[in-house]
């Protein structure tokens, strides 16, 4: 039973793409056999630290100009230490939000990448928790 809408990436994650295919008649050793390599695994490319990596779905358009659209899936690494100007998933007022982290003169901002959204300044009595750093965006072209 599959629940919810299928996400195309699901099929691709475990797709094996052999670099060399050796289909020959029995009895003749393939000349490529000595050069066989491991198939490419997207996990290796997208997930540096599996224990600390989570997938998060995006809802909303505020990060449009950074190439993050509604419905995209973010690869989020919690093991990285947040730095200025990184795109982060943050916990703010009981919700997860994806924004660009900015530190200026001791002040902290969460900036959108869309002119219709104003930067959010984190006030002293607000608690901002950086949940993880966005390392890749999985986007399906439409």
């Amino acid at each position: 039973m599959i629940t919810g809408e299928p996400i195309p990436f699901e099929a691709r994650l475990s797709l094996r793409i052999p670099l060399v295919s050796a289909k020959v008649q029995a009895g003749f050793p393939s000349p490529a056999d000595d050069h066989m390599e491991k198939s490419l695994d997207l996990n290796e490319h997208l997930v540096r630290n599996p224990a600390a990596t989570f997938f998060v779905k995006v809802e909303g358009d505020s990060m449009r100009d950074a190439g993050i659209l509604s419905g995209d899936i973010l690869v989020v690494d919690r093991s990285l230490t947040p730095k200025d100007s990184q795109i982060v998933v943050a916990m703010l007022d009981g919700d997860f939000t994806v924004k660009r982290l900015r530190r200026r003169d001791g002040r902290v901002f969460l900036e959108a990448e869309n002119v219709s959204f104003v930067p959010i300044e984190i006030s002293e009595n607000q608690e901002l928790v950086i949940w993880g750093i966005v390392t890749y965006v999985i986007h399906q072209p439409r």
Binding site: I2, F55, E59, S62, I73, R78, F96, A112
Partner: protein
């Protein structure tokens, strides 16, 4: 060399909070498989006086009055988060024993004290979001005790190195025997008449007396309290213990057919777990239970076990054995509340001795079938492909009305970030 026991704080509640910030800072309880009673509590829920095992239906009003968040258990999430916590720690130490879903014993060099424990704690918290406590001591029994103290004493900030405490005996004198790992209420009752009340008493007790009262195991615990290591890390605990799958029904079940379907699907789960761990089991036990809390219904509990001619992890063989056992204990006229099985006498795959009396039972054909079924179910979701005896109706399936999403194991249930 020392041991560290790392224990996740309020593990189930902590897992839920990683993915739902709104649960942070408020009382939270997690319910049993069937939403029947409380099996885990956040610190705030404990402070409200909510007890483990508190029945849900009796406390609904209390939960509402105190704005307690109530969730069904989400084992897919807890299992995945547990694996992550263990994977974060594994590369940091030379050896590790995963003791339970939320605890692990680590082997530490003498140079690794509280600073190292704090590093582990901080790394697990940052990478997974799960807070842990760490107890360090020369023996597993003391490490367990140190961990409890680290948790109970806020100024310890979740870390206690028992090798560095100035007066260990004074601490042991405050721990009643019933709270020592491996002793518990039942065994401590045998020690009380001998005047052994606390961990300190047990440490200095006459070993012959302890052995007389508690046997060799008890003697080992007593020696471990004195700092003499008697228990080693068990890095492959699964080969020694067993695998169980048992659940309560959402509503009472009467017919053999419904019981058979439920048991067959639990058995399929056990088969999957065995194959995932590359293990074989030689012993199968099955049980049925009526609802012990029902005063009006007649009660019936029964169990049966069998030893297989050949250790196996083949679902078809396991189901055949389990259903035979079930049929032997099934009685008409009862309202069954629960059935389940456990398999024991485990051995690693590939170490099988051929039986004298049977040809190999796990024939390649059946093996291939189980592997394909596992692959399909992994790809397409649990129970896409079922053995015929599992049925398709699931009328017995457990109630889980308030489960959070499977944030880390289902593409369709990912956490959402607003942009």
């Amino acid at each position: 060399m020392n041991f560290a026991l790392v224990d996740c704080n309020n593990f189930y509640a902590s897992c839920e909070r990683v993915f739902n910030p709104r649960l942070i800072g408020r009382p939270l309880v997690i319910l049993s498989n069937n939403d029947g009673c409380v099996i885990a509590r956040s610190e705030e829920a404990k402070q409200l006086g909510i007890k483990m095992g508190a029945p849900t239906f009796k406390n609904e009003t209390f939960f509402r009055q105190h704005q307690v968040a109530v969730l069904s258990s989400n084992y897919a999430l807890y299992g995945d988060m547990s694996a992550r916590v263990m994977e974060v720690m594994r590369p940091l130490v030379s050896a590790m024993e995963v003791y339970s879903i939320d605890e692990a014993f680590l082997s530490l060099d003498d140079a690794h004290g509280e600073d190292f424990a704090r590093e582990i704690r901080e790394r697990v918290r940052q990478w997974t979001g799960i807070p842990v406590s760490v107890g360090i001591a020369p023996t597993k029994t003391l490490a367990k005790l140190a961990n409890r103290l680290a948790k109970k004493t806020p100024q310890r900030q979740g870390v206690l190195d028992f090798t560095r405490v100035p007066d260990a005996d004074a601490i042991l004198a405050m721990v009643p025997c019933s709270e020592i790992w491996g002793i518990g209420t039942r065994l401590s009752a045998r020690l009380a008449p001998m005047g052994i009340q606390t961990a300190r008493d047990l440490k200095y007790a006459e070993m012959a007396n302890v052995r007389g009262a508690l046997g060799v195991i008890g003697e080992r615990i007593a020696r471990e309290l004195g700092g003499l290591p008697c228990l080693d890390l068990e890095e492959l605990p699964a080969t020694k213990k067993g695998i169980a799958s048992a659940k309560s029904f959402g509503h009472p079940v009467e017919t053999l057919q419904e019981l058979e379907e439920a048991l067959a699907s639990y058995t399929a789960r056990v088969g999957e777990k065995l194959r995932a761990g590359q293990l074989l089991a030689a012993h199968v036990s099955v049980f049925v239970e009526t609802n012990p809390f029902s005063a009006t219904q007649p009660q019936y509990n029964a169990g049966a076990q069998t030893t297989l001619l050949q250790p196996t992890n083949q679902t078809s063989v396991l189901i055949a054995a389990a259903l035979n056992l079930l049929r032997s204990i099934y009685r008409v006229g009862y309202q069954y509340k629960k059935t389940g099985l456990f398999v024991t006498a485990m051995s690693p795959e590939g170490a099988v001795q051929l039986s004298l009396f049977e040809e190999r039972e796990d024939k390649p054909v059946a093996q291939g079938l189980s592997v394909i079924v596992d692959q399909l179910n992994r790809k397409l979701g649990a129970n896409t492909v079922r053995y015929g005896s599992m049925g398709t109706r699931d009328t017995w399936a457990m109630r889980q009305n308030r489960r959070s999403r499977k944030f880390t194991t289902r593409w369709s249930e990912l956490p959402v970030a607003k942009a």
